[in-house]
Symmetry: C2
Subunit: 321 residues, 2 copies
């Protein structure tokens, strides 16, 4: 076993302390975990692959660790769930400096601690050239109360948390060789999973459907509409465009509509329910309405309507537009 | 999204049917799963990386699919648990033929069906050159009844299921360019996780400690002794050496002692308990005894004792001896 792999296991074991929900953590064939009584388990897995989801020369190791756990926690948030434990499978090339792995774990564990999610297991291996992480997050939600993508009904209003497009704008600047710093693009480097908002919406029975914005509004709203068999109308002017850079400027509407990697929540709620304008300190914006049929339309100033097609999400490997 | 990735998702979705333990499968942010009442959750993750855990020119795609799910199911077996659901994260290079992915899934899903384990989710991505799979298996066990590595006590007897060393012998032959077929080496190509034996041992409260033999007897017995803070004496003559090849011959003792990849169960039981000579149709052999102290000794014919050192497990990447 290469040194980096041994050190990784030692460090994971050292941080896994006795935790009431985890009778057995790292060091056995499986982790043993307690799901709270009356709850169902939630499970999500997310790859974070070098040159697909991050680049070693753009993202410090701590940022890679933070971002790959965010992806899993954000999926738990999107179900209205609470995270119970994380699992990290990490394959690194033999020649990777030990400091990279240490700093990766610093970022991963800092976010885990912030959300009180113990790292309860995983796997390690040597990879040929690239760094490969696969993160599993186990969570729970009261039985039958998970907020699915399939619950949106015609007439429901569409809401989004926070600001959109910051991730896409950061990516354009990185590809253009421009300076992108954690100060100017905090949510690109340190996206925060919206766990508290997801739980609030579930506890108050506000959301009829929910998804996290990892692939971009146009794609992810498409998923809600597909699963719920409905259409939607989105008001262009109401989209909260991220304010980024220095001097601070709002991103292009296109980036807010199609850019991924923002990890905000998109949800629908009955028009009879009162959705607060801020939840857990984060602004919540009304951006449209669910309709009958299958069309997803963007309504611009003056009432001009055009189809809002999913334009997907660019990975870090190369620029597709 | 490349074609292979799209087809993979479509196929996974098509096979995920309504299952009582899985209210929500693929197609939402998380899978939602029901853990049986009074049970704890078991979770294990295992990488299967090309040229580390398998080779494309040695292992047909169905075999790779079968073997990568076996690793996870075998971990569930080693806790005395029952599998509930599997999750497959698969990254494949863009130029990989679609038939490879189809046949991989054939092997994976055939084993999943045999153990009634639905494929409930996962992730897909494009990898630069190698095929990378990370398999998660979620299982359950009655609360407080998981069989850990840490429960062995001095005086307990040591048992092993099935036969050992077949995996290592197959590997030597593959490295030597010799013919290795599923007929002559069935457990190398299609290892069977010992779920029924693990459950029997747990239900009858027979095992004090258990582990699956993925890294080899010398290494895995070392894990039980480390976690239980005990030593062990193993009788060389009692080790069930795999009979493989054609004409059928028993493998070298060295392969049975140190070779990995057999996915048999190694467990300890109080000397006051009766352990049947066969469980679920599989022979169970008494191979030694747990002792005080930390030494792990191999006792040969005539009483000659020597330390049984963990000699680890060779991966498919290269030969280390």
């Amino acid at each position: 076993m290469p040194l980096a792999e041994k050190a990784l296991i030692a460090r994971i074991r050292a941080q896994t302390r006795r935790h009431p929900a985890i009778p057995v953590g790292i060091g056995d064939d499986c982790a043993v975990l307690r799901i709270p009584s009356g709850h169902e388990a939630l499970l999500t897995t997310d790859f974070s692959l070098e040159d697909v989801h991050f680049r070693r020369n753009w993202h410090p190791p701590e940022v890679v660790g933070h971002r790959c756990l965010t992806r899993g926690l954000s999926d738990i948030a999107a179900m209205g769930g609470e995270p119970l434990a994380a699992f990290l499978s990490l394959a690194v090339p033999a020649q990777l400096p030990q400091t990279w792995v240490d700093r990766f774990l610093d970022g991963f564990l800092a976010l885990a601690e912030q959300f009180r999610v113990p790292l309860a297991g995983g796997d390690t291996a040597q990879s040929p050239t690239e760094i490969l992480a696969d993160v599993v997050v186990l969570g729970s939600v009261p039985r039958g109360r998970a907020i699915l993508r399939s619950g949106a009904r015609p007439g429901d209003l569409i809401y989004v948390t926070g600001e959109l497009g910051g991730g896409a704008d950061a990516l354009h600047r990185l590809f253009a060789g421009k300076r992108v710093t954690p100060e100017n693009y905090p949510r690109h480097f340190h996206p925060i999973p919206r766990i508290a908002i997801g739980c609030f919406l579930r506890e108050h029975r506000l959301a009829t459907a929910m998804i996290d914005l990892s692939d971009g509004l146009s794609t992810d709203l498409g998923h809600i509409c597909d699963e719920s068999r409905v259409g939607a109308e989105v008001l262009a002017d109401s989209i909260p465009r991220a304010r980024v850079g220095r001097p601070v400027e709002a991103v292009d509407l296109k980036d807010a509509l199609h850019g991924g990697d923002d990890y905000e929540l998109l949800f629908t709620a009955s028009s009879r329910k009162h959705v607060p304008p801020r939840i857990a300190g984060v602004p919540v914006r009304l951006i449209g309405r669910i309709s009958r049929g299958k069309k997803i339309l963007l309504v611009e100033e003056g009432g001009k309507c055009s189809p809002l097609r999913p334009e997907g999400w660019e990975h870090f490997r190369g620029r597709s537009r």
